[in-house]
């Protein structure tokens, strides 16, 4: 049992925290923490696994106990035996080269014998359903498979509590359902599960309670029935994603037709990743103003396709035409703007305004335009701030603002709403719609069905 008693935790760097938390998570209970970005969900998971006390710097009050033992007083390796932690993006936390080695990592640290380690690794891989990947190289796995390896790795030493921090943010619909199956198995096994999530619809049949956090405090605790009965307007008012199942519901790509040669045309394109051909004979036609959703399972080639369209990678076969003219990669680089997933390695300047002006002629007209775009993206008040000091959602919006600042006819966005709450997702959607009105062609790679349905006017499923 995890007990939070009048817990307050504030990060020393001023990055938020939680206040006056009183919460009990009983043995075998499945609890979902939800709320807007930055509300304190992740801090609660860090209090449960001890990271808040032993890894991050903060001021704290109150007590968090697991089975009566204070988390603050326990060394973190002891808490690790009780609480298994699965993070948003497991890629950055892997140590081994192969699945087997990664699954064994915690058991090795806790000094289990080699025989015991082998048995536990086999059991963990079996429980998560990835026995077939035992000797696979981690970098060759899809995001969904990597997430399963991360779960297997914390499952192997057999903790009784599992803490997940936004585990579905990089997963496609099928992988998210597979993740739900693993969580169901943990629950059936009597484990206690705490999940911090934006996309809650896949947890509706699993959760015993939903804890809604607002401004660092527990604002309300919902039963599953109460949560399921929230109307769209009510959940939107709380800044929550829809609790109902959501699938992409758009007309297929078709051929936009009309308009002569205007727009982007892909003819019989074949794309590979390494030596493996992922997409073959792919054709598509888009007109100015189109917003296309590119969906498909993790690892199906969506990002590779987009990199080809952006001129960052060559296609194996086929051609890409823009306004009727064949574009080689070098020219595509000048015509298409590609916004990759992950904002940190796309921001280069010392202020938000300079970020928009970087590489452009800084005349008064351009400056005016930069200020207008900052206002459009709700970033005016941060114009003089260093881009890397912005929050995750603000950085995401800044990368989009930079894209719209450039006079490129085609914009390709790779997972632009990864980890964003409803309000921020809607900001991004509105900005994309505004850009499309000005005649840009926008291609969006996304697993976020709610976002795709809101912003796109056609879709294509890769690998279908």
């Amino acid at each position: 049992m995890i007990e939070f008693r009048n817990v307050t935790y504030l990060y020393k760097n001023g990055g938020g925290g939680v206040k006056n938390i009183d919460l009990t998570v009983n043995d075998g209970e499945f609890v979902v923490l939800c709320g807007r970005s930055g509300c304190g969900k992740t801090t609660l998971t860090r209090l449960a696994n001890g990271l808040a006390y032993h890894f991050y710097a903060g001021r704290y009050d109150g007590t968090v106990t697991i089975d009566g033992k204070s988390v603050r007083d326990m060394p973190i390796f002891e808490t690790g035996r009780l609480v298994g932690s699965v993070f948003q993006d497991p890629r950055d936390g892997f140590f081994a080269k192969y699945v087997e080695g990664e699954t064994a990592f915690a058991c090795e640290n806790y000094g289990f014998s080699p025989t015991d380690i082998r048995a536990r690794v086999a059991a963990a891989l079996g429980a998560v359903g990835i026995e077939n990947l035992r000797f696979a190289e981690l970098k060759k796995l899809s995001s969904g498979e990597k997430q399963k390896v991360a779960i297997a790795s914390v499952y192997a030493p057999a903790p009784k509590i599992y803490v997940f921090d936004e585990p579905s943010s990089n997963l496609d619909a099928a992988a998210t359902l597979a993740l739900a199956d693993v969580m169901r198995a943990l629950k059936a096994d009597g484990k206690t599960v705490v999940v911090s999530e934006h996309r809650v619809n896949y947890l509706m049949n699993l959760a015993d309670k939903f804890v809604y956090i607002d401004g660092g405090e527990i604002a309300r605790v919902f039963t599953p029935r109460e949560f399921a009965n929230l109307s769209d307007a009510e959940s939107a008012a709380l800044g929550l994603r829809t609790p109902r199942p959501c699938a992409v519901n758009l007309p297929p790509r078709g051929d936009s037709g009309g308009g002569g040669n205007a727009g982007l045309r892909l003819n019989a394109l074949s794309v590979s990743y390494g030596k493996k051909e992922l997409i073959s004979g792919f054709s598509l036609s888009l007109r100015p103003g189109d917003i296309l959703a590119v969906t498909g399972t993790n690892g199906c080639g969506k990002t590779s396709l987009c990199r080809v369209i952006a001129g960052l990678k060559r296609q194996n076969r086929g051609e890409i035409l823009f306004n009727g003219k064949k574009l080689p990669p070098r020219k595509r680089l000048a015509a298409v703007y590609y916004v990759a997933n992950g904002a940190d390695n796309q921001l280069f300047s010392s202020s938000v305004r300079d970020e928009l002006l970087l590489g452009l002629k800084a005349d008064p007209k351009t400056r005016e335009r930069a200020d207008a775009i900052l206002a459009e993206f709700g970033l005016s008040e941060y114009a003089d701030r260093h881009p890397l000091l912005l929050s995750g959602g603000q950085k995401q919006r800044l990368t989009l603002a930079v894209a719209f600042m450039r006079d490129r006819s085609v914009i390709v966005l790779d997972e632009p709403t990864s980890g964003l709450d409803l309000t921020r997702m809607r900001h991004v959607a509105d900005a994309i719609k505004t850009a499309s009105v000005s005649g840009k062609i926008i291609i969006v790679v996304s697993h976020d069905a709610e976002f795709v349905n809101r912003v796109c006017n056609k879709s294509v499923i890769i690998g279908s």
């Binding site: 990271l51 081994a96 000094g111 680089l333 280069f348």
Partner: protein
């Protein structure tokens, strides 16, 4: 492919021996470096690291070939100083030994260092370090790709605006590097990396006869090189 995996102690000692020999040899006997390189090459081939052996062999051959041409054609220092290539060739055995060492599974390294009575924290730090290099490489590629998208990449940009290009790469790389370091640390500490119990490895191996033979061979080689090289 099943590799002939040697005990981690052999890797660690080989690494230290070759490093010591080469650092000493830079200003000593002319056969030190080729012999040290040959030793690591045989060691790599014996373990099935054919690709690594091929790459490193080619580079070493290239540097030695250039030095040979400098000497044969009397180029002197007219093009580029020959000592750049001499130093590169002399450093190759160390790089190659490090490379072979880095191919060892991280948990095997940690377990081996533990067996050599290194503190547990050292093992985890070394594992993190070896895990970190490929990440930094991938992040650098991502940053450069994003610079190309912004029109900041390319040779022309690097030549026209070297300082701007340098900062564009450095700042995001540092930030990402900090982020990755945090994620790795969090992942390690929540999975018992600081546990006080002795660490075991899934890949744990006994120190066998083959390991002892290799170790004796390298130790003898190092001794001979020192002894005869000094004379």
């Amino acid at each position: 492919m099943k590799r002939y995996g040697l005990h981690i102690h052999v890797h660690v000692k080989l690494f230290l021996i070759v490093l010591t020999v080469v650092l000493t040899a830079v200003s000593s006997h002319k056969y030190f470096t080729p012999l040290a390189f040959a030793a690591v090459l045989i060691f790599a081939l014996a373990q099935g690291y054919f690709k690594a052996a091929g790459y490193n062999g080619c580079f070493y051959g290239l540097f030695v070939g250039i030095v040979f041409m400098y000497n044969a054609f009397g180029w002197g220092d007219r093009i580029v100083s020959r000592y750049i290539f001499v130093i590169a060739a002399n450093a190759m055995p160390s790089f190659f030994a490090c490379y072979v060492f880095a191919l060892t599974p991280p948990s095997e390294i940690a377990s081996g260092l533990n067996g050599l009575r290194f503190p547990k924290s050292t093992g985890v730090a070394v594992v993190t370090l070896f895990r970190y290099f490929p990440t930094v490489g991938a992040e650098t590629r991502a940053v450069r790709e994003n610079m190309r998208v912004r029109g900041l990449g390319g040779l022309r940009q690097y030549l026209l605006h070297p300082m701007r290009s340098f900062i564009c790469v450095l700042i995001p790389l540092l930030i990402r590097a900090l982020g990755v370091a945090e994620q790795l640390s969090v992942s390690a500490v929540t999975r018992g990396a600081e546990s006080k119990t002795a660490r075991h490895s899934l890949y744990e191996k006994r120190f066998g006869i083959a390991d002892a033979a290799w170790l004796a061979l390298f130790a003898a080689g190092a001794f001979c090189l020192f002894y005869f090289g000094r004379a």
